[in-house]
């Protein structure tokens, strides 16, 4: 038998239900792996070992009693530390919430709990999900398991690193401008940013409410669809949740893709992209051709404005969303404040890291009277343009193939001094959030020195099933981490 942490969710689930291994053994296997590797990788902020073993034992009792099992029963997973977990610290990797223990659980996690998954712990991220390298965590650096001197990407760097290092069978991440897809690409795992509204945001500590979306990070495409099946549903606690039932996202996995039209947007292969990434994604296009797909060239001219629009909208919303962290009711409170204004000022200055403060100031400025029209309103207009361009694109193709990021993972510390350069790395991922579309990030090769390269498949709203089908077709023929 292979090491348990190497198995996919599908395989583990079969082993558990056939009683070939116990849930406790699986969980212990992952806990051992965390103990072995996380000192180096640094994926976890909190490991909930005791609760995990207790939960696994509970699943084993269910098995012994012959109860019906869900596809995630006994499967160990990690949760990004911006999703609230009742009784378990939820820090958002911020000093501000270092000791914050919510008394409620986010809907996505609650759905996993109902399916008897085993929570291993809470994983690292950029503070309040702001960043692209997980270097903005207030607590620790996370290393890329595929290249330990490199960043794992961000903001869901812990989510991707944990799966890549086999420290979790799957994780949940959140994606506001690429925060699931880019770390998945950097670490060589599979990440899905679902359609806006597919997964409830209730209990996800908001960064940019109109862009945030929770999604799974997994070892392979099928696992990803299994987890999305678990977490995606209408939720009455989230007014932006899409009503109605969800399809079975695994249903079309295995069907062939011959005859599909794949869009290649020329703007995504222009200036700034590294040759290795470009070559890898072009090779993937060729691979799809060999599977019987037709490649069509597309133009998304508004891409030039997407990044600016993204940073205006996301920062504006963040400036308001993060205002509640004021040192009054919970979270960090400075000792220095003597007056109310000082309590606010010192608590927020000491509690938030520099990137978060930068975005709050940027967003506050963009919403200020006299500037609103020039920035926020303009950004919303760009948003409409981008949505329209995508809508038109999907008249000529079933899905779009593009790089996730212009480069593979870079060295730790390489871009921390230059925020703009860091922001530029989001150029291919943010338009998807702006348009509210689903996009699947999956490995499509490696650099010469072995760093993973990812591609993303972008579909029209609610086309996750089709993206999994297309992703799986590639993975089966050409994939392999």
């Amino acid at each position: 038998m292979r090491e348990l942490t190497k198995y996919s969710i599908e395989e583990l689930s079969r082993l558990i239900s056939r009683k070939e291994v116990s849930a406790a053994e699986v969980t212990q296997g992952y806990l051992d792996k965390i103990r072995e590797k996380d000192g180096l990788i640094g994926a976890y902020i909190t490991v909930t070992e005791e609760a995990a073993l207790k939960k696994a034992a509970q699943v084993d009792r269910k098995i012994a009693a012959g109860e019906e099992l869900s596809p995630l029963a006994g499967i160990p997973g990690g949760i990004k530390d911006n999703m609230c977990t009742n009784g378990v610290k939820t820090t958002c990797a911020s000093k501000m919430l270092e000791n914050f223990v919510p008394c409620y659980t986010s809907t996505a996690v609650e759905r996993l709990e109902k399916m008897d998954y085993v929570m291993l712990g809470k994983v690292n991220m950029d503070e309040f999900a702001m960043g692209s390298s997980t270097e903005n965590s207030a607590f620790k650096i996370t290393r890329n398991p595929a290249a330990p001197d490199c960043v794992p990407g961000g903001s869901s760097g812990g989510s991707a690193a944990a799966v890549a290092a086999e420290e979790a069978a799957f994780t949940l991440g959140s994606d506001t401008g690429g925060s699931i897809r880019q770390p998945a690409a950097f670490c060589g795992v599979v990440g899905m940013k679902p359609t806006y509204g597919a997964v409830s945001r209730y209990g996800l500590v908001a960064f940019a409410s109109s862009l945030d979306q929770i999604g799974p990070v997994t070892k392979n495409v099928t696992d990803n669809a299994i987890v999305l099946n678990a977490i995606s549903a209408h939720d009455g606690l989230d007014a932006t949740s899409i009503p109605g039932d969800r399809p079975d996202y695994t249903a079309d996995i295995g069907k062939d893709v011959a005859g599909m039209r794949v869009g290649l947007p020329t703007e995504f292969f222009g200036e700034g992209i590294s040759p290795e990434v470009k070559d890898a994604v072009m090779a993937a296009a060729k691979a799809y051709e060999s599977l019987g797909c037709e490649i069509v060239e597309l133009s998304l001219p508004s891409l030039d404005y997407a990044l600016s629009a993204y940073y205006v909208i996301s920062s504006a919303e963040a400036s308001s969303n993060l205002a509640r962290f004021d040192g009054i009711r919970y979270g960090y409170r400075s000792e220095k404040g003597a007056t109310l204004d000082e309590v606010y000022r010192y608590s927020r200055t000491e509690g938030f890291g520099p990137e978060v403060q930068r975005r709050i100031m940027l967003g506050t400025f963009a919403l200020s009277s006299g500037y609103y029209d020039a920035y926020y309103k303009k950004a919303l207009q760009v948003r409409t343009l981008i949505m329209e361009e995508y809508r038109k694109s999907f008249e000529t193709c079933q899905f779009i193939l593009s790089p996730v990021a212009p480069t593979a993972a870079y060295r730790i510390g390489e871009k921390t001094e230059n925020p703009i350069e860091m922001y530029m790395g989001d150029i291919y991922s943010v338009p998807v959030n702006i348009a509210g579309l689903p996009a699947l990030s999956l490995p499509c090769g490696r650099t010469e020195d072995g760093r993973p390269i990812g591609m993303q498949l972008i579909g029209k709203p609610l086309s996750e099933g089709l993206l999994y089908r297309a992703g799986y077709a590639y993975e089966r023929e050409f994939g392999g981490r």
Partner: protein
């Protein structure tokens, strides 16, 4: 304040005040605007709140549909245009009673716009414009404790409010109060709010500026916040008008600021200067979709609006000949108007019933609570007896009080206590002569030209008859006897 009378008179001649009012009325939904917590008033602190209304990280608001229905009804009742595609916006500011550090309100697309209500004052009828009505959430309450310092009670957080903004159409405290009374009545008629002022269910911010009479532009205004009694509002307006006039007369300048009215001194005090820096950075709340009101729904809500005070008053005037002032008093409160209509349907003398209602029953109301402790049937019976001259008016009033206090059947009370009016002129004449015999000085006084002596005799006669004599006949007979 100099208190200089001359300045005061000059002010009144040269200046006029311009008043606009912002009213916050609490909607009486069972649950809060964005979560399922109860809105009930008076619970122990922090027992009616949850992660959502406390703005805990990751929680999201979900709009209570009733809030929209109620606000639309308030808009329809005040002749507003309803915005069928509106949105909610965040008003960002830091304060400890505001857990999210923003209030979810409505900025550029309020639910209701361009309405009006008609008021009547001593000066006559006037139409007051309503700029807008929007929905928003209430903030929490700060409780200052001697020992523990300032504490926060989140029970009010997320209680649904409508904010009703008037045009700057009012020119006196009397008009402002008339507007508020009428607005309160209309809203209460629709049943969407209780408007209990003592509980903060109906609070008023007054925006006031002064200008020289005939001027076209407005002066700089001040804002007086959270006034919760009509009497205070009138006092605050009068004081602030004088203060602003004096400031200008003395060559000073009005500063745009928020002022607090102190009921103990009757004066207003500066709270904070409203700087330009007070920028709320409104933007559409991304957690909440647009509010769409389908035409059918709008029509249904329109159908639920009851007959409103002005219309009722018109009907009373037309049908029962009740004067505008009395009609205005009766229709000021829906329960009272309903009670009157029930009474009117049972009596031959609705006008008599109306007078007993506004004359006697209004006196028996205690404070804000207008609980009517007499049935329409009883009041109708009393009005009938009075109208038929079976009892006189003072007995009628006495009966109202008696039934109010102790209950019982008015007719039976009259019979058992022998309260029927004495209409027999011969009996009355006997009583007049008897009274005069007891107090002969009355006749002397009368002969000397002291006309008030007649009144004294009438009073004496009423006393002798235990107030049961028909006053008209008494007056006539007294006059005849004194004239001799």
């Amino acid at each position: 304040m100099s208190g200089n009378l001359e300045v005061g008179e000059k002010m009144a001649r040269n200046y006029e005040m311009v008043i606009g009012l912002e009213v916050h009325a609490e909607l009486k939904t069972e649950t809060k605007i964005f979560c399922g917590c109860s809105t009930k008033f008076g619970a122990e602190p922090n027992t009616q709140c949850c992660p959502v209304c406390m703005g805990m990280p990751g929680t999201l608001p979900v709009l209570n549909g009733k809030v929209v229905d109620y606000a639309v009804k308030a808009g329809l009742a005040t002749n507003c245009t309803i915005t069928t595609h509106s949105k909610q916006d965040r008003k960002n500011y830091f304060y400890p009673d505001l857990p999210k550090a923003y209030q979810i309100s409505q900025y550029d697309l309020p639910l209701c716009e361009h309405g009006y209500i008609d008021i009547s004052t001593g000066e006559g009828e006037k139409r007051i414009g309503i700029t807008r009505i929007h929905i928003e959430e209430d903030a929490g309450k700060l409780v200052h404790h001697e020992k523990y310092g300032t504490m926060i009670d989140c029970n009010r957080c997320g209680v649904p409010l409508i904010e009703i903004v008037s045009e700057p159409d009012m020119r006196s405290a009397e008009e402002a109060v008339a507007y508020l009374e009428k607005l309160r009545a209309v809203i209460m008629y629709t049943g969407v709010a209780d408007c209990r002022m003592q509980e903060g269910g109906f609070r008023c911010d007054v925006n006031l500026s002064v200008r020289e009479k005939g001027a076209e532009t407005f002066g700089t205004r001040t804002e007086m916040k959270n006034l919760n009694s009509f009497a205070f509002i009138a006092k605050a307006i009068d004081y602030e008008f004088k203060r602003q006039c004096e400031t200008l007369e003395n060559g000073g300048e009005i500063i745009q600021e928020t002022r607090r009215f102190d009921p103990d001194t009757g004066k207003t005090y500066s709270m904070r200067v409203k700087e330009d820096a007070n920028d709320y950075r409104y933007f559409p709340d991304p957690d909440l979709p647009y509010i769409d009101i389908p035409a059918e729904k709008l029509e249904n809500l329109r159908g639920e609006i009851p007959v409103l005070p002005d219309e009722r008053r018109r009907i009373y005037e037309e049908k029962y000949g009740i004067d505008r002032k009395t009609g205005g008093l009766i229709t000021g409160d829906r329960e009272v108007a309903d009670f009157f209509e029930e009474t009117a349907s049972r009596t031959k003398y609705p006008k008599t019933a109306a007078n007993l209602l506004t004359g006697e029953i209004f006196r028996l109301f205690s404070g804000e609570e207008r609980e009517i402790r007499i049935s329409g049937e009883s009041l109708a019976a009393i009005a009938d007896m009075a109208g038929d001259s079976y009892i006189n008016s003072s007995t009628a009033k006495r009966l109202v009080r008696e039934v109010w206090e102790n209950g019982g059947d008015p007719m039976q009370i009259v019979r058992e206590n022998d309260l029927a009016q004495i209409n027999d002129e011969a009996v009355i004449r006997d009583k007049v002569l008897a009274a005069l015999k007891e107090r002969p000085k009355i006749l002397e006084d009368y002969k000397k030209g002291k006309t008030s002596a007649a009144g004294a005799l009438t009073g004496a006669v009423m006393g002798l008859t235990k107030n049961k004599a028909n006053p008209e006949i008494v007056n006539r007979v007294v006059k005849e006897v004194l004239e001799g």
